[in-house]
């Protein structure tokens, strides 16, 4: 892979609280490494509370206590500079954001202030990063909205006057108006029905192709990943357990958790009942020793209970963290 636009190395981000003398440590992101190439859409999947949102918050450095970064680095290689996002000071961070790196928040339906017109959201969030005159900026915004099939009159609307799909598109327009090189999208389509979702996904794809940006795209909806992502990372209990090209992961998963995740998807013409995975995701304040998946894993052996499996390359461009990767059956 040519020099990646984002390189995450051994990232550890824990929620650390101490209230009434009781210290708690929630290991939401534990030792995650990944790299994203320019122009790539990287899908991040996993069940709720597997650390997806924490991971991308840490990548964007949008973290607040009690969340802390304990180890590892997040390095962006933008066109004109290289940035370790946790090492630079606040001002240059504000400089990068929106222009080079933008973030579509979870629950992005509510990114717009309900008592202010949509225009103000663009002016407040994006104008400072563009420069030039206000008239030029608003012209650029209108042209950009056009691209997302939104009329210029949405600028004068209040958020409650727009439909859910329109609001979502406005949010995407807001995140992409400065033509960022890297876009972080946290479940941008989760609240939408499938028809609107399809439109919004197509739009994200279109904008991404036009701007040549890279996207890290988070959702637990595997169908969305299958449609959109070039490469897929699967998270389980705060760790990345498998990563590879989307088609490879779907066709030949190398981690038992991924296998179950994919086996749960309905297929055309398949009438066999779906099998649930026993047990529940572990408590991240007290994760199981060794492989975090072992209590629920049908393939678990002694070594899984003792040691945490490292990420190893099981096929070209396909990594998995499992001692028994070769025993995982195709779904």
């Amino acid at each position: 892979m040519s020099s990646p636009v984002l390189a995450v190395e051994g990232l550890k981000a824990y929620y650390r609280t101490s209230a009434f003398g009781v210290r708690r440590e929630v290991r939401a992101v534990d030792d995650v490494s990944l790299a994203i190439a320019p122009g790539e859409i990287y899908g991040l999947a996993g069940e709720s509370s597997s650390g997806k949102t924490t991971l991308i918050k840490t990548i964007a450095n949008a973290i607040q206590p009690p969340l802390q970064v304990l180890a590892g680095s997040v390095v962006f290689n933008f066109r004109d500079r290289t940035v370790d996002i946790h090492a630079i000071e606040r001002e240059s961070l504000a400089d990068i954001r929106w222009k080079h790196l933008s973030y579509i928040m979870q629950g992005s339906m509510n990114v717009l202030n309900p008592v202010r017109r949509v225009r103000h959201a663009f002016v407040d969030f994006a104008f400072r990063h563009v420069g030039g005159s206000m008239a030029e900026f608003l012209d650029a915004v209108r042209a950009h909205l056009e691209r997302l099939h939104l009329g210029p009159d949405v600028l004068d609307a209040f958020p409650h006057q727009l439909s859910g799909g329109m609001r979502q598109r406005v949010t995407i327009a807001l995140a992409t108006v400065c033509r960022p090189e890297f876009i972080i999208a946290d479940e941008p389509t989760t609240a939408l029905d499938v028809v609107v979702q399809k439109g919004v996904l197509a739009m994200i794809h279109e904008v991404q192709r036009e701007l040549g940006s890279s996207i890290i795209f988070v959702t637990h909806d595997m169908a969305v990943h299958a449609n959109l992502a070039d490469r897929l990372g699967i998270m389980y209990a705060g760790r990345l357990v498998e990563e590879g090209r989307t088609a490879d992961v779907f066709r030949r998963p190398r981690h038992p958790y991924t296998r179950h995740l994919i086996a749960s998807l309905p297929r055309l013409g398949d009438s066999a009942p779906k099998e649930g995975l026993g047990g529940t995701p572990p408590n991240l304040a007290d994760p199981p020793a060794g492989c975090r998946f072992h209590p629920r894993c049908p393939l678990a052996t002694d070594i899984c209970r003792r040691d945490a499996p490292p990420m190893t390359e099981v096929a070209p461009g396909h990594r998995a963290a499992c001692f028994h990767a070769d025993q995982v059956a195709a779904p």
């Binding site: 929106w98 928040m105 509510n110 407040d124 209040f158």
Partner: protein, 284 residues
């Protein structure tokens, strides 16, 4: 501006409130055309009942009640507005900052706030009068009342600001690099303004009511004519016993009009400020 006209047509409460306030405001403005300075006495014959020449009659001190009342209502109105503006500033700054910052800042500010909430107002103000005595003035009282009148609102605003802090648009604002001051002013202030507008009216009512009470009892600067001070002098001259009813009737009438006008505006103002309820009403 168009919305105001629309509101006048669509909302009876707003119309009535605006009319009542308009009458009071015009009356207050007439003070600039008064033929007599407010504190001169025995410029007209005393104790004349309302007539064509003296529309509201004259006082036992030989003042034309009509012109005296224009000064009084002007001072009373200004008093209410001054207190409201000052206390609103305090409430907004403290409420927004406490709600947004949380933690230690919040706890410190709110303990001050709660102290002000439990302080008994009336005894403090009477005490204040006895301490200041001859130095007591209209402005000083307004300042004192503003310092006592912000706490309920600050709590209200803080509770709203606390919920705003964790909304996505606040997080996006932080992410986009807006400073705390910008976030508070640009993003959160518009959200709390409807609340502030309606409490402003109530606060004007509250401060005028308290000022009238203190004045009637003589615990303010009795040489600056306000509605309360007029009633105080009427009582001093036993106006009701002497049958000079107009000396009490007209000040009370005007202040009641002011109260009702402000109340109706406070109620209907929300619909103008909050775009959602405004649209709900007009269906636009």
């Amino acid at each position: 501006m168009r919305s105001v006209l629309h509101l006048l047509r669509a909302n009876r409460q707003f119309l009535t409130g605006a009319l009542l306030l308009g009458v009071v405001a015009v009356f207050a403005l007439l003070s600039f055309f008064s033929p007599y300075p407010p504190n001169d006495s025995f410029v007209v014959p005393p104790d004349v009942p309302p007539s064509a020449e003296y529309w509201m009659g004259t006082t036992s001190r030989g003042q034309d009640l009509f012109w005296l009342l224009t000064f009084s209502i002007r001072n009373t109105l200004l008093f209410g507005i001054t207190v409201a503006v000052l206390s609103r500033l305090l409430a907004l700054v403290i409420g927004l900052v406490a709600g947004y910052s949380g933690g230690l800042v919040d706890r410190a500010l709110m303990s001050i706030n709660d102290t002000f909430i439990v302080i008994p107002l009336f005894p403090i103000l009477v005490l204040f009068y006895f301490v200041m005595k001859d130095h007591m003035s209209w402005g000083l009282l307004a300042l004192m009342m503003a310092c006592l009148g912000w706490s309920y609102d600050a709590r209200l605003i803080r509770s709203v600001a606390m919920s705003l802090r964790h909304r996505e648009f606040t997080e996006s604002a932080i992410f986009s690099g807006m400073s705390t001051r910008q976030i508070l002013i640009e993003e959160h202030l518009p959200y709390v303004l409807p609340i502030v507008f309606s409490t402003t009216m109530n606060n004007i009512n509250w401060s005028i009511g308290l000022e009238v009470t203190l004045s009637v009892l003589g615990f303010t600067d009795i040489n600056t004519p306000t509605v309360g001070v007029m009633i105080y002098w009427a009582n001093q001259h036993t106006a009701l016993v002497a049958g000079i009813w107009w000396w009490i009737f007209f000040p009370v009438l005007l202040v009641v009009m002011l109260f009702i006008g402000l109340f109706l505006l406070a109620v209907s103002m929300n619909e103008y400020i909050d775009p959602r309820s405004r649209l709900g009403r007009t269906g636009a």
